[in-house]
Symmetry: C2
Subunit: 199 residues, 2 copies
Protein backbone atom coordinates (compact mmCIF):
# COMPACT_ATOMS: atom_id res chain seq x y z
CA UNK A 1 0.00 0.00 0.00
CA UNK A 2 1.25 3.43 -0.92
CA UNK A 3 0.54 5.69 2.08
CA UNK A 4 2.05 8.65 0.31
CA UNK A 5 1.31 9.86 -3.18
CA UNK A 6 3.60 8.72 -6.00
CA UNK A 7 5.62 11.96 -6.05
CA UNK A 8 6.45 11.71 -2.32
CA UNK A 9 7.17 7.97 -2.49
CA UNK A 10 9.51 8.50 -5.43
CA UNK A 11 11.38 11.20 -3.57
CA UNK A 12 11.68 9.09 -0.40
CA UNK A 13 12.86 6.13 -2.48
CA UNK A 14 15.52 8.19 -4.31
CA UNK A 15 16.78 9.79 -1.08
CA UNK A 16 16.96 6.48 0.79
CA UNK A 17 19.40 5.15 -1.84
CA UNK A 18 21.98 7.71 -0.69
CA UNK A 19 24.63 6.46 1.76
CA UNK A 20 23.84 6.86 5.45
CA UNK A 21 20.21 7.80 4.80
CA UNK A 22 17.77 5.21 6.12
CA UNK A 23 14.04 5.06 5.60
CA UNK A 24 13.18 7.43 8.44
CA UNK A 25 15.75 10.09 7.45
CA UNK A 26 14.60 9.84 3.84
CA UNK A 27 11.03 10.56 4.95
CA UNK A 28 12.12 13.50 7.08
CA UNK A 29 14.23 14.90 4.24
CA UNK A 30 11.44 14.44 1.69
CA UNK A 31 8.89 16.32 3.81
CA UNK A 32 11.45 19.03 4.49
CA UNK A 33 12.13 19.45 0.77
CA UNK A 34 8.39 19.63 -0.01
CA UNK A 35 8.17 22.38 2.60
CA UNK A 36 11.17 24.40 1.30
CA UNK A 37 10.67 27.58 -0.76
CA UNK A 38 10.61 26.73 -4.47
CA UNK A 39 13.74 28.74 -5.30
CA UNK A 40 15.76 26.88 -2.65
CA UNK A 41 14.63 23.56 -4.11
CA UNK A 42 15.61 24.70 -7.61
CA UNK A 43 18.99 25.75 -6.26
CA UNK A 44 19.56 22.41 -4.52
CA UNK A 45 18.62 20.41 -7.62
CA UNK A 46 20.75 22.67 -9.81
CA UNK A 47 23.79 22.39 -7.53
CA UNK A 48 23.52 18.59 -7.52
CA UNK A 49 23.44 18.45 -11.31
CA UNK A 50 26.13 21.05 -11.79
CA UNK A 51 28.56 19.43 -9.34
CA UNK A 52 28.13 16.05 -11.00
CA UNK A 53 28.63 17.60 -14.45
CA UNK A 54 31.59 19.84 -13.74
CA UNK A 55 33.68 18.03 -11.15
CA UNK A 56 36.51 15.93 -12.52
CA UNK A 57 39.97 14.74 -11.52
CA UNK A 58 42.85 17.21 -11.32
CA UNK A 59 45.19 16.17 -14.14
CA UNK A 60 48.14 16.31 -11.77
CA UNK A 61 47.10 15.01 -8.33
CA UNK A 62 43.72 13.42 -9.19
CA UNK A 63 41.80 15.22 -6.47
CA UNK A 64 38.22 16.15 -7.36
CA UNK A 65 38.06 19.68 -8.71
CA UNK A 66 36.20 21.78 -11.26
CA UNK A 67 39.46 23.01 -12.86
CA UNK A 68 41.84 21.12 -15.19
CA UNK A 69 44.56 21.51 -12.55
CA UNK A 70 43.46 22.02 -8.93
CA UNK A 71 44.38 25.21 -6.99
CA UNK A 72 46.89 23.34 -4.78
CA UNK A 73 48.81 21.92 -7.76
CA UNK A 74 48.71 25.37 -9.44
CA UNK A 75 50.01 27.20 -6.37
CA UNK A 76 53.55 28.59 -6.45
CA UNK A 77 53.47 28.75 -2.63
CA UNK A 78 53.41 25.00 -2.25
CA UNK A 79 56.46 22.76 -2.05
CA UNK A 80 56.09 20.59 -5.15
CA UNK A 81 58.97 18.33 -4.10
CA UNK A 82 56.92 16.81 -1.25
CA UNK A 83 53.91 14.69 -2.17
CA UNK A 84 51.44 13.41 0.40
CA UNK A 85 49.59 10.30 -0.78
CA UNK A 86 46.00 10.08 0.48
CA UNK A 87 43.12 7.71 -0.24
CA UNK A 88 40.55 10.32 -1.17
CA UNK A 89 39.76 14.01 -1.50
CA UNK A 90 38.26 14.16 2.01
CA UNK A 91 41.61 13.07 3.46
CA UNK A 92 43.29 15.86 1.50
CA UNK A 93 40.78 18.31 2.98
CA UNK A 94 41.47 16.97 6.48
CA UNK A 95 45.19 17.78 6.12
CA UNK A 96 44.45 21.14 4.49
CA UNK A 97 42.37 22.06 7.55
CA UNK A 98 45.48 21.66 9.70
CA UNK A 99 47.00 24.48 7.65
CA UNK A 100 50.48 23.10 8.32
CA UNK A 101 51.28 20.99 5.28
CA UNK A 102 52.70 23.02 2.41
CA UNK A 103 53.51 20.21 -0.01
CA UNK A 104 51.21 18.84 -2.68
CA UNK A 105 49.03 15.72 -2.75
CA UNK A 106 48.33 12.61 -4.73
CA UNK A 107 44.85 11.13 -4.38
CA UNK A 108 44.67 7.37 -4.94
CA UNK A 109 40.86 7.07 -4.87
CA UNK A 110 40.95 3.98 -2.74
CA UNK A 111 43.39 1.53 -1.22
CA UNK A 112 44.60 -1.94 -2.11
CA UNK A 113 42.09 -4.45 -0.81
CA UNK A 114 42.48 -7.92 -2.35
CA UNK A 115 39.52 -9.20 -0.32
CA UNK A 116 37.32 -6.69 -2.15
CA UNK A 117 39.07 -7.35 -5.46
CA UNK A 118 40.84 -3.97 -5.42
CA UNK A 119 44.32 -4.25 -6.94
CA UNK A 120 47.02 -1.73 -7.96
CA UNK A 121 45.30 -1.02 -11.29
CA UNK A 122 42.09 0.05 -9.49
CA UNK A 123 43.69 3.02 -7.73
CA UNK A 124 45.70 5.95 -9.14
CA UNK A 125 49.02 4.23 -8.49
CA UNK A 126 50.42 4.14 -12.04
CA UNK A 127 49.69 7.87 -12.18
CA UNK A 128 51.74 8.35 -8.97
CA UNK A 129 54.70 6.47 -10.45
CA UNK A 130 54.56 8.63 -13.59
CA UNK A 131 54.70 11.75 -11.37
CA UNK A 132 57.70 10.38 -9.46
CA UNK A 133 59.50 9.85 -12.77
CA UNK A 134 58.63 13.17 -14.39
CA UNK A 135 58.51 15.58 -11.43
CA UNK A 136 61.33 16.53 -9.11
CA UNK A 137 60.08 14.74 -5.98
CA UNK A 138 62.21 14.49 -2.83
CA UNK A 139 59.80 13.00 -0.30
CA UNK A 140 56.68 10.89 -0.46
CA UNK A 141 54.56 11.00 2.72
CA UNK A 142 52.10 8.12 2.79
CA UNK A 143 48.94 9.18 4.61
CA UNK A 144 46.59 6.32 3.74
CA UNK A 145 44.23 5.20 6.51
CA UNK A 146 45.48 3.16 9.46
CA UNK A 147 43.22 0.22 8.61
CA UNK A 148 44.29 -3.00 6.88
CA UNK A 149 43.89 -1.80 3.26
CA UNK A 150 45.54 1.53 4.11
CA UNK A 151 48.53 -0.15 5.75
CA UNK A 152 48.84 -2.65 2.90
CA UNK A 153 48.82 0.20 0.39
CA UNK A 154 51.48 2.07 2.37
CA UNK A 155 53.74 -1.02 2.43
CA UNK A 156 53.18 -1.65 -1.28
CA UNK A 157 54.00 1.91 -2.34
CA UNK A 158 56.97 2.05 0.02
CA UNK A 159 58.52 -1.11 -1.48
CA UNK A 160 57.88 0.17 -4.99
CA UNK A 161 59.33 3.65 -4.50
CA UNK A 162 62.23 3.18 -2.06
CA UNK A 163 64.68 1.72 -4.64
CA UNK A 164 64.41 4.97 -6.63
CA UNK A 165 66.08 6.85 -3.77
CA UNK A 166 63.09 9.09 -3.01
CA UNK A 167 62.51 9.49 0.77
CA UNK A 168 59.36 7.61 1.78
CA UNK A 169 57.63 8.23 5.12
CA UNK A 170 54.42 7.13 6.79
CA UNK A 171 52.33 9.37 9.11
CA UNK A 172 52.56 8.27 12.74
CA UNK A 173 50.06 5.96 14.43
CA UNK A 174 49.22 6.47 18.08
CA UNK A 175 46.73 7.73 20.61
CA UNK A 176 44.67 10.60 19.22
CA UNK A 177 45.01 13.89 21.10
CA UNK A 178 42.27 14.05 23.72
CA UNK A 179 41.83 10.29 23.47
CA UNK A 180 41.40 8.41 26.74
CA UNK A 181 43.69 5.42 26.97
CA UNK A 182 41.01 3.12 28.32
CA UNK A 183 38.89 3.69 25.20
CA UNK A 184 41.70 2.94 22.74
CA UNK A 185 42.21 -0.49 21.19
CA UNK A 186 45.32 -2.55 21.99
CA UNK A 187 46.86 -2.33 18.52
CA UNK A 188 46.86 1.47 18.71
CA UNK A 189 48.28 1.38 22.25
CA UNK A 190 51.13 -0.89 21.10
CA UNK A 191 51.80 1.35 18.09
CA UNK A 192 51.91 4.37 20.38
CA UNK A 193 54.39 2.57 22.64
CA UNK A 194 56.63 1.50 19.72
CA UNK A 195 56.55 4.99 18.30
CA UNK A 196 57.26 6.74 21.61
CA UNK A 197 59.23 9.95 21.38
CA UNK A 198 62.01 10.65 23.95
CA UNK A 199 61.60 14.00 25.70
Amino acid sequence: MNYYSTEISNLIEQLSRLPGIGGKSAQRLAFHIIDMPMEQVEQLAGTIQSARKNVKYCKSCYTLTDKEICPICMSANRDHSTIMVVEDTRDLAAYERTGRFDGVYHVLHGALDPAMGKGPEDIKLKELLVRLQTENVEELIIATNSDVPGEATAMYISKLVKPSGIKVSRIASGVPIGGELECIDEVTLLRALEGRVYL
Copy 2:
Protein backbone atom coordinates in the same frame (compact mmCIF):
# COMPACT_ATOMS: atom_id res chain seq x y z
CA MET B 1 40.46 28.40 2.77
CA ASN B 2 38.49 26.39 0.26
CA TYR B 3 39.92 22.86 0.30
CA TYR B 4 37.43 21.71 -2.28
CA SER B 5 36.61 23.39 -5.56
CA THR B 6 33.64 25.77 -5.64
CA GLU B 7 31.27 23.21 -7.15
CA ILE B 8 31.95 20.67 -4.39
CA SER B 9 31.83 23.29 -1.61
CA ASN B 10 28.49 24.57 -2.91
CA LEU B 11 27.05 21.08 -2.95
CA ILE B 12 28.31 20.32 0.58
CA GLU B 13 26.92 23.62 1.79
CA GLN B 14 23.49 23.03 0.25
CA LEU B 15 23.28 19.47 1.58
CA SER B 16 24.35 20.45 5.09
CA ARG B 17 21.35 22.80 5.32
CA LEU B 18 19.01 19.80 5.21
CA PRO B 19 17.71 18.55 8.57
CA GLY B 20 19.75 15.81 10.26
CA ILE B 21 22.67 16.20 7.85
CA GLY B 22 25.80 17.49 9.54
CA GLY B 23 29.05 18.58 7.93
CA LYS B 24 30.52 15.08 7.71
CA SER B 25 27.40 13.50 6.23
CA ALA B 26 27.11 16.36 3.75
CA GLN B 27 30.68 15.67 2.60
CA ARG B 28 30.01 11.95 2.26
CA LEU B 29 26.80 12.61 0.34
CA ALA B 30 28.45 15.15 -1.94
CA PHE B 31 31.27 12.78 -2.91
CA HIS B 32 28.76 9.99 -3.41
CA ILE B 33 26.68 12.18 -5.74
CA ILE B 34 29.75 13.18 -7.74
CA ASP B 35 30.49 9.48 -8.13
CA MET B 36 26.97 8.48 -9.21
CA PRO B 37 26.13 7.76 -12.87
CA MET B 38 24.94 10.94 -14.59
CA GLU B 39 21.43 9.62 -15.32
CA GLN B 40 20.88 8.75 -11.65
CA VAL B 41 21.91 12.28 -10.66
CA GLU B 42 19.52 13.76 -13.23
CA GLN B 43 16.77 11.52 -11.87
CA LEU B 44 17.44 12.56 -8.26
CA ALA B 45 17.45 16.27 -9.13
CA GLY B 46 14.32 15.87 -11.24
CA THR B 47 12.45 14.00 -8.51
CA ILE B 48 13.31 16.69 -5.96
CA GLN B 49 11.98 19.44 -8.23
CA SER B 50 8.92 17.53 -9.32
CA ALA B 51 7.90 16.56 -5.77
CA ARG B 52 8.21 20.16 -4.61
CA LYS B 53 6.20 21.38 -7.60
CA ASN B 54 3.41 18.83 -7.60
CA VAL B 55 2.78 17.98 -3.97
CA LYS B 56 0.01 19.95 -2.28
CA TYR B 57 -2.58 19.53 0.46
CA CYS B 58 -5.53 17.21 -0.06
CA LYS B 59 -8.55 19.53 -0.18
CA SER B 60 -10.40 17.32 2.26
CA CYS B 61 -7.95 16.00 4.91
CA TYR B 62 -4.92 18.24 4.23
CA THR B 63 -2.44 15.39 3.92
CA LEU B 64 0.34 15.93 1.37
CA THR B 65 -0.58 14.43 -1.98
CA ASP B 66 -0.20 15.02 -5.70
CA LYS B 67 -3.96 14.75 -6.30
CA GLU B 68 -6.71 17.31 -5.53
CA ILE B 69 -8.26 14.77 -3.14
CA CYS B 70 -5.99 12.06 -1.69
CA PRO B 71 -6.62 8.34 -2.37
CA ILE B 72 -7.79 7.72 1.22
CA CYS B 73 -10.42 10.48 1.09
CA MET B 74 -11.50 9.26 -2.36
CA SER B 75 -11.86 5.62 -1.28
CA ALA B 76 -15.36 4.15 -0.94
CA ASN B 77 -13.88 1.39 1.25
CA ARG B 78 -13.08 3.79 4.09
CA ASP B 79 -15.44 4.72 6.89
CA HIS B 80 -15.90 8.45 6.35
CA SER B 81 -17.77 8.85 9.64
CA THR B 82 -14.59 8.25 11.67
CA ILE B 83 -11.82 10.86 11.44
CA MET B 84 -8.41 10.35 13.02
CA VAL B 85 -6.65 13.65 13.75
CA VAL B 86 -2.85 13.50 13.33
CA GLU B 87 -0.10 16.11 13.45
CA ASP B 88 1.47 15.33 10.10
CA THR B 89 1.47 13.09 7.03
CA ARG B 90 4.12 10.80 8.52
CA ASP B 91 1.78 10.01 11.44
CA LEU B 92 -0.93 9.16 8.93
CA ALA B 93 1.51 6.82 7.17
CA ALA B 94 2.39 5.21 10.53
CA TYR B 95 -1.26 4.30 11.13
CA GLU B 96 -1.73 3.21 7.52
CA ARG B 97 1.14 0.77 7.98
CA THR B 98 -0.83 -0.96 10.77
CA GLY B 99 -3.45 -1.73 8.11
CA ARG B 100 -6.15 -1.78 10.79
CA PHE B 101 -7.68 1.67 10.68
CA ASP B 102 -10.37 2.01 8.05
CA GLY B 103 -11.56 5.54 8.81
CA VAL B 104 -10.23 8.72 7.26
CA TYR B 105 -7.77 11.31 8.56
CA HIS B 106 -7.34 14.99 9.25
CA VAL B 107 -3.78 16.31 9.18
CA LEU B 108 -3.21 19.38 11.39
CA HIS B 109 0.34 20.15 10.19
CA GLY B 110 1.58 20.81 13.69
CA ALA B 111 0.29 21.08 17.24
CA LEU B 112 -0.59 23.93 19.57
CA ASP B 113 2.60 25.19 21.16
CA PRO B 114 2.24 28.62 22.77
CA ALA B 115 5.91 28.57 23.82
CA MET B 116 6.83 28.45 20.12
CA GLY B 117 4.10 30.92 19.19
CA LYS B 118 1.95 28.26 17.53
CA GLY B 119 -1.74 28.96 18.08
CA PRO B 120 -5.00 27.48 16.75
CA GLU B 121 -4.80 29.56 13.57
CA ASP B 122 -1.37 28.07 12.71
CA ILE B 123 -2.66 24.53 12.32
CA LYS B 124 -5.48 23.12 10.17
CA LEU B 125 -8.01 23.35 13.01
CA LYS B 126 -10.58 25.66 11.41
CA GLU B 127 -10.57 23.25 8.47
CA LEU B 128 -11.35 20.37 10.86
CA LEU B 129 -14.29 22.25 12.37
CA VAL B 130 -15.68 22.92 8.89
CA ARG B 131 -15.49 19.18 8.14
CA LEU B 132 -17.29 18.33 11.38
CA GLN B 133 -20.09 20.72 10.40
CA THR B 134 -20.44 19.67 6.78
CA GLU B 135 -19.62 15.94 6.87
CA ASN B 136 -21.49 13.23 8.69
CA VAL B 137 -18.89 12.49 11.39
CA GLU B 138 -19.63 10.15 14.28
CA GLU B 139 -16.24 9.79 15.98
CA LEU B 140 -13.11 11.87 16.17
CA ILE B 141 -10.00 9.93 17.28
CA ILE B 142 -7.26 12.29 18.39
CA ALA B 143 -3.86 10.80 17.60
CA THR B 144 -1.57 13.77 18.17
CA ASN B 145 1.81 13.00 19.76
CA SER B 146 2.09 12.17 23.47
CA ASP B 147 4.31 15.18 24.14
CA VAL B 148 3.21 18.49 25.71
CA PRO B 149 2.04 20.22 22.50
CA GLY B 150 0.32 17.01 21.32
CA GLU B 151 -1.54 16.60 24.62
CA ALA B 152 -2.49 20.27 24.72
CA THR B 153 -3.86 20.03 21.19
CA ALA B 154 -5.86 16.93 22.10
CA MET B 155 -7.39 18.69 25.12
CA TYR B 156 -8.17 21.80 23.08
CA ILE B 157 -9.90 19.90 20.27
CA SER B 158 -11.76 17.69 22.73
CA LYS B 159 -13.23 20.70 24.58
CA LEU B 160 -14.15 22.36 21.29
CA VAL B 161 -15.85 19.35 19.72
CA LYS B 162 -17.51 17.50 22.63
CA PRO B 163 -20.46 19.94 22.97
CA SER B 164 -21.50 19.07 19.41
CA GLY B 165 -22.27 15.50 20.46
CA ILE B 166 -19.60 13.90 18.25
CA LYS B 167 -17.74 11.08 20.08
CA VAL B 168 -14.18 12.20 20.83
CA SER B 169 -11.46 9.72 21.81
CA ARG B 170 -7.71 9.82 22.40
CA ILE B 171 -5.32 7.00 21.48
CA ALA B 172 -4.00 5.20 24.58
CA SER B 173 -0.74 6.06 26.32
CA GLY B 174 1.28 3.30 27.92
CA VAL B 175 4.28 1.03 27.74
CA PRO B 176 5.18 0.30 24.09
CA ILE B 177 5.01 -3.38 23.10
CA GLY B 178 8.44 -4.89 23.60
CA GLY B 179 9.36 -2.01 25.92
CA GLU B 180 11.26 -2.89 29.08
CA LEU B 181 9.73 -1.29 32.15
CA GLU B 182 13.08 -0.21 33.60
CA CYS B 183 13.78 1.88 30.50
CA ILE B 184 10.43 3.69 30.53
CA ASP B 185 9.94 7.11 32.13
CA GLU B 186 7.72 7.52 35.20
CA VAL B 187 5.01 9.53 33.46
CA THR B 188 4.46 6.74 30.95
CA LEU B 189 4.48 4.14 33.73
CA LEU B 190 1.80 6.08 35.64
CA ARG B 191 -0.26 6.49 32.47
CA ALA B 192 -0.01 2.76 31.84
CA LEU B 193 -1.19 2.09 35.41
CA GLU B 194 -4.12 4.51 35.18
CA GLY B 195 -5.13 3.05 31.83
CA ARG B 196 -4.88 -0.57 32.95
CA VAL B 197 -7.30 -2.97 31.30
CA TYR B 198 -9.02 -5.65 33.42
CA LEU B 199 -8.57 -9.16 32.04
